[in-house]
Amino acid sequence: MLGTYTYNKIIRKTLIAFGTLFNNIEVRKENADGSTYSRMKVPLAYGPRQKFLARITEQPDLNKKVAITLPRLSFEMTGVSYDATRKLGAVTKSLKPKDAGTVTKQFVPVPYNVDFELNIISKTNDEAIEIAEQIFPFFQPSYNVTIKLVDELNDYRDVPITLNSVNYSDDYEGTFDSRKLTIFTLQFTAKTYIFGPIGTQGPIKKAKVDYRTNTNLQAERQVAYEVTPKALTDENKDGTTSLSSPITKSTLTFDVDDIVDIVIGGFIEIGNEVMKVKSKPGGNKIKVVRAQNGTTASAHAAGAAVDLINAEDDALLDSGDDFGFNEMTSVFFE
């Protein structure tokens, strides 16, 4: 019934983001004079694993020379729960431009909390504290990680990771048969969002409003108002014609190579400047109003391409482009 296959790997991504925070922690030992004796990168791993894989990767020749190498960091996911306090209205959806002619649509995600446990094991107290003190100051009590939760949306979300509690155990009493073990256990919660399937649609290119003076929807409309996007600059680099001679930034009448396709009242673009064609005084001359649609008047060289801004450019407009409006008002008489 639920049907649409979707797997955005969000819990996995949250887990990776959490793990990455702790992948570059170091332990340093000092000489008596304060100089560095050695540096050590603390190995990190996700604790749970398949037993057969653990055995064949860690003990390929059936034996380890030593019991284990220390210090180590290990973390695991301990729970996933719904967070009602962050829930937004279920029908809100967001639209984002994707590629030419497509927009992705996505309903709001469901907020979920993912709990993690991070364990620090070390041979000595000092090393355990050294590692812990590299972690604690950044959680006040939470640290925000910005994660791209859904690839297709390219939408980065802040996911706060909160340090809930710290537990420290140093097991040293008893017979000499048992080993001293120093372990820090840190409990975290990551507040993530789980997204559903993503749809696509085309960008909206027409909006229409019908006005009626009667609440009966079957009645005749009186006025219809329609807008469509209008290109403000050239989109298709048509290069319909070109300048016959150079112009300065104040030239208003000039020659082009071919005047046939230029329409009086239409817009043209030369270089980065948009001009409005006022008239065609004769020959291949055109008279223009300079610096239209927010562009700046500037000099142009002979041979510079003259692009027409017309319906073809309107059709090429896509989501994310800057545009104006073509309006059409229809009035209906009974």
Binding site: I16, N23, P43, I68, D177, A305
Partner: protein, 442 residues
């Protein structure tokens, strides 16, 4: 009071008993290596070792009390990976330890106790190829036979390795990657220098012709112009970035800086004018074979190039591709242009393991692996970060190598160790546009 007509162990009886014990140990025991712990420094607050080293080993015969296998919990899967918790009880002769080993231990000031095997010392067990740590020395079992104890019972369990140093571990392949190793690459064949010539007009240089761009430069070489005139100067670049199309009134001039093969920064020397923004595009010169091209996105404001944004840094831009004549000079009849040399690779042969010292930073590290075919060395526990272009010298062998590239995270201990894997996954999904407080996230 006990009966004085019976002896409870004379010295001769005790010697006989000791000899019988030793004979028994030599017949039924096995040879193990006793490795004393040198306690270099201690933490007097937590009462813990800070630095321990294991440099020496002594052969001694020992009887394995648990003859039918190791004691202990065996192999366990823990949240920290597989823990092999084998235990063993070894019996060694007190007299043999005193004769063979104690005399040397007592001379070493770093060894806390020389008279007896002490807790924390290691035993290497050749039969199974394991390091065991002595956790308790039992000296009263059997209890005072003939008034004396003859053996130590060493209760041992497998050692927990925490990057302890010393000759014993230095050459141990299995333990090399534990701790902190960094892989540094060097050139197996050195690069070649760029070559250029000039043409002169009225004693001044009017053009420089680049005949060979050279190879394997890490950064743009410096150019030196010599000859009988003076004042000429030129600058070399490893990348050439131009604006193509857009019918400008004046052309833009862009210069890029390359380091380690990648485009690091761009500078707009002149933004040009009159560019048709729709028709202008940025052209970046091709990298050397095997490289990826850099990409740069321009921003024009009223036909003038005002900003460039590097979207891909590219790789393998290691040859000179552009030369700027910054000063033409005067009075030349002949000129000679020389470029500084690209970094050399290796000279000599390293010993593995040996300690190495950086020529620029003065940092030291231990060279634990060397692959002369692929051209890399693996350095363990560097005291500071070595920089690329730095010369590293082996303290024993005298061999030198110039670092070309480094891979900070390339510790290859993939056994229960996922730091690099997480880093790579996270590169695709995390946005650390500010900084990652926990370390380097590229």
């Amino acid at each position: 009071m006990r009966n004085t007509f019976f002896t409870h162990g004379t010295r001769n009886e005790q010697f006989l008993q000791q000899n019988l014990v030793e004979e028994y140990l030599k017949m039924f025991g096995m040879d193990v290596l006793f490795i004393p712990r040198q306690l270099v420094s201690k933490d007097s607050v937590f009462n813990e070792e800070i630095v321990s080293e294991f440099d020496d080993s002594y052969l001694i015969e020992a009887y394995m009390e648990n003859f039918d296998g190791f004691q202990g919990g065996g192999d366990l899967l823990t949240k920290f990976g597989i823990r092999q918790s084998d235990e063993v009880t070894l019996v060694i002769s007190q007299q043999r330890f005193s004769d063979l080993i104690s005399q040397f231990l007592l001379l070493d000031t770093d060894i806390e106790l020389g008279e007896r095997p002490s807790e924390g010392d290691l035993i290497y067990f050749p039969l199974t190829n394991n390091y065991f740590e002595i956790k308790f020395v039992e000296h009263e079992e059997p209890f005072y036979q003939l008034g004396k104890n003859y053996v130590y019972k060493l209760k041992c369990e497998l050692f927990e390795y925490s990057d302890e140093k010393g000759d014993i571990f230095e050459g141990d392949e299995e333990l090399v990657d534990s701790g902190y190793t960094v892989k540094y690459y060097y050139l197996t064949t050195p690069g070649t220098s760029a070559v250029a010539s000039t043409s002169l007009t009225n004693g001044a240089i009017d053009s420089i012709y680049l005949t060979d761009g050279g190879s394997k430069y890490q950064e743009a070489p410096t150019m030196t112009i010599t000859g009988d005139g003076n004042g000429a100067a030129a600058e070399a670049f490893l990348i050439n970035i131009t604006v193509s199309g857009g019918s400008p009134l004046t052309s833009a001039v862009i210069r890029g800086t390359v380091k380690d093969g990648s485009l690091r920064s761009v500078r707009i020397v002149d933004g040009g004018s009159g560019y048709d923004e729709d028709r202008a595009s940025i052209v970046v010169s091709s990298p050397n074979l095997g490289g990826t091209p850099a990409t740069v996105v321009p921003t024009f404001t009223n036909g003038v190039l005002t900003a460039l944004n590097i979207t891909t840094q590219g790789s393998n831009y290691t040859s000179v591709s552009l030369v700027d004549l910054t000063s033409a000079g005067t009075g030349y009849t002949t000129t000679n242009i020389t470029f500084s040399s690209p970094p050399a690779g290796l000279t000599g042969e390293f010993k593995v393991p040996e300690s190495v010292t950086g020529g620029t930073t003065g940092a030291t590290a231990s060279l634990v692996e060397w692959n002369s075919v692929e051209g890399w060395i693996k350095l363990k526990s560097p005291t500071a970060t070595f920089s690329t272009g730095e010369t590293i010298m082996g303290n024993t062998s005298g061999a030198t190598v110039v670092l070309e590239n480094r891979d900070e995270m390339a510790s290859t201990d993939t056994k229960y160790y996922e730091n690099v894997a997480f880093e790579e996954f996270a590169d695709d999904i995390l946005d650390f546009t500010e900084t990652n407080p926990f370390g380097v996230i590229s």
